[in-house]
């Protein structure tokens, strides 16, 4: 009987100020969508970083005048480093063959090049990408070594751009979430105002404050939850329609748009949890001052 009472009161309130409810719901949805965007961006960057890290190797370009002895010393020296997984020697000929293979559709790149124009190198595969700069520094300047390159710079840049993007989006979504809470509070205040006579009588006959509050809190929660579900739905749709297609259309990026269902579920849970939190904050804001005995 009590649940029926709360439910019908809440439904009535929602119907009475439909416009305010719609405004509150859509603000919650939009702000949560931004928040979801932040999460997904984070996941994309995580995938990208993993992807790059797996590919990271240190390329040790050798001078053309390196002696056989120097090469052997260098190779054994490098393979003994405990950060190093394995070392592959790539001769000038192999390097040129790889280059040809890489640009096989654009023969103008390599047709005019003499086959020995690319340097021989040692490809050093690391046990972990984070050792790249240390290993590179270690090998730079060793006898017979011309230059050392690794993908670390790109990863660093990527992480910087990512953290900037995340901060901006996070700030925006926080501002929007505050606005959403304020809109919910306003919606509830209107509902309270519309029912002030009833509330007066409820207090008069001894209804407890919680009994009076619950329908209004449910209204705030309802608005927030609907907003959360809408944003969650959009995230799910985007995942199944947009991201998988983008992954297929841009294969050279690697599996950056492949999200595990656990990851997606986590994003949805965060959206719903934050939405419920916003609803509660908004309701509490509206209910704090009313009900003074």
């Amino acid at each position: 009987m009590r649940f029926r009472y709360f439910f019908s009161e809440t439904a009535q309130n929602v119907r009475r100020n439909l416009l305010m409810t719609v405004a509150a719901v859509s603000t919650v949805a939009i702000s949560l969508l931004l928040l979801g965007g932040v999460q997904i961006l984070g996941m994309i960057v995580k995938n990208m970083t993993l992807n790059w890290q797996a590919k990271v190797e240190v390329a040790v370009y050798l001078r053309d005048d390196i002696t056989h002895g120097e090469l052997q010393t260098l190779e054994s020296q490098v393979s003994q480093l405990h950060e190093v997984d394995h070392v592959t020697y790539v001769s000038k000929k192999q390097a040129f063959a790889e280059f040809k293979q890489q640009f096989r559709t654009q023969p103008e790149f390599w047709q005019s090049l003499p086959p020995d124009s690319l340097p021989a190198s040692l490809r050093v595969k690391l046990t972990d990408a984070k050792f790249a700069s240390a290993v590179a520094a270690n090998l730079r300047g060793a006898p017979g070594v011309d230059d050392v390159r690794y993908g670390g710079e790109i990863i660093k840049r990527l992480l910087q751009v990512n953290s900037l993007l995340r901060t901006v989006t996070l700030v925006m979504s926080i501002i929007l979430l505050v606005a959403a809470a304020a809109l919910i509070a306003n919606t509830i205040r209107l509902a309270i105002y519309a029912r002030r006579d009833e509330i007066g009588i409820m207090k008069l006959v001894g209804a407890t404050n919680w009994f009076i509050r619950i329908p209004f809190m449910l209204e705030g929660l309802f608005a927030a939850l609907v907003g959360a579900l809408i944003s969650g739905g959009i995230v799910l749709t985007a995942n199944s329609l947009l991201f998988t297609r983008m992954g297929r259309a841009l294969p050279f990026l690697g599996p950056v748009f492949d999200f595990s269902s656990g990851d997606i579920l986590a994003v949805l849970l965060i959206l719903v949890a934050v939405g419920v939190g916003v609803g509660l904050v908004g309701s509490t804001m509206a209910l704090r001052r009313f009900l003074e005995v």
Binding site: D197, M202, L204, V205, G206, A207, T208
Partner: protein
């Protein structure tokens, strides 16, 4: 049942609404609180439901010191104190039945209790035939009966009536007084503020007269005013 000792109530700006009120009302009494407008009648009644709190002095209702009653217990106090007002305070969009049922529903009474007690009490106040009417389809006297039914449906220990006949013609007022008298006979303590001479004089009950916030007369089986 109701006891106040040396109660002082001051509003903002040093307005003294009540001054040294010491009153003792027994269980089952019927008490008129009389006096001109602004004499402190309404303020006194509001102390009994903790709508107002005294600046000094103590108020006991049903054996409880209201000053030490925590905020969250106030609703439970009010379940023991029914209130009736001059302006009825009915909800216009609810029927007679729903208005009375509302008072039980919002204190969490189960559905079957509501459906048993509401028709009973409306029968008692003489509105057994008008359960489905809306307040604006009723006369003033009938509306006041609904509000009395709402105040009494929960069988409170105390019924407080603030000028319940203030908006009613004399003949209708007599009917309301009969009803309050009947409720009083069930053992309910009734405290009624009024400035209706005829009613007070015909009922011959205890009269507490207030003037400028002070008790100037407390007389059992009294009349409205000496010399009127």
């Amino acid at each position: 049942m109701i006891k106040t000792t040396d109660v002082v109530k001051e509003y903002k700006g040093d307005i003294r609404a009540l001054n040294d009120i010491t009153i003792d009302i027994e269980k089952g009494e019927f008490v008129f609180v009389v006096g001109p407008s602004g004499s402190g009648k309404s303020t006194f009644l509001k102390l009994l439901t903790k709508e107002e709190e005294p600046t000094a002095g103590k108020v006991y209702v049903a054996g409880k010191n209201l000053a030490s009653l925590p905020r969250w217990r106030v609703p439970y106090l009010r379940r023991n104190v029914g209130c009736v007002f001059q302006d009825f305070k009915l909800l216009p969009n609810k029927t007679v039945f729903q208005n009375v049922a509302f008072a039980l529903e919002v204190i969490g009474r189960p559905h079957d209790v509501v459906h048993r007690q509401v028709p009973q009490i409306l029968e008692l106040v003489g509105l057994g035939e008008k359960l489905d009417r809306f307040p604006d389809e009723l006369s003033g006297g009938e509306q006041q009966r609904v509000s009395i039914a709402r105040a009494f449906v929960n069988r409170p220990l105390i019924l407080i009536a603030d000028e319940p006949t203030g908006n009613l013609d004399p003949a209708t007022s007599v009917g309301i007084m009969r009803l309050l008298d009947r409720i009083n006979r069930t053992g309910t303590t009734v405290v009624m503020a009024t400035h209706d001479h005829t009613i007070v004089d015909s009922m011959r009950r205890r009269v507490i007269e207030l003037e400028n916030g002070q008790v100037v007369r407390d007389q059992s089986r009294g009349i409205y005013g000496v010399g009127t």
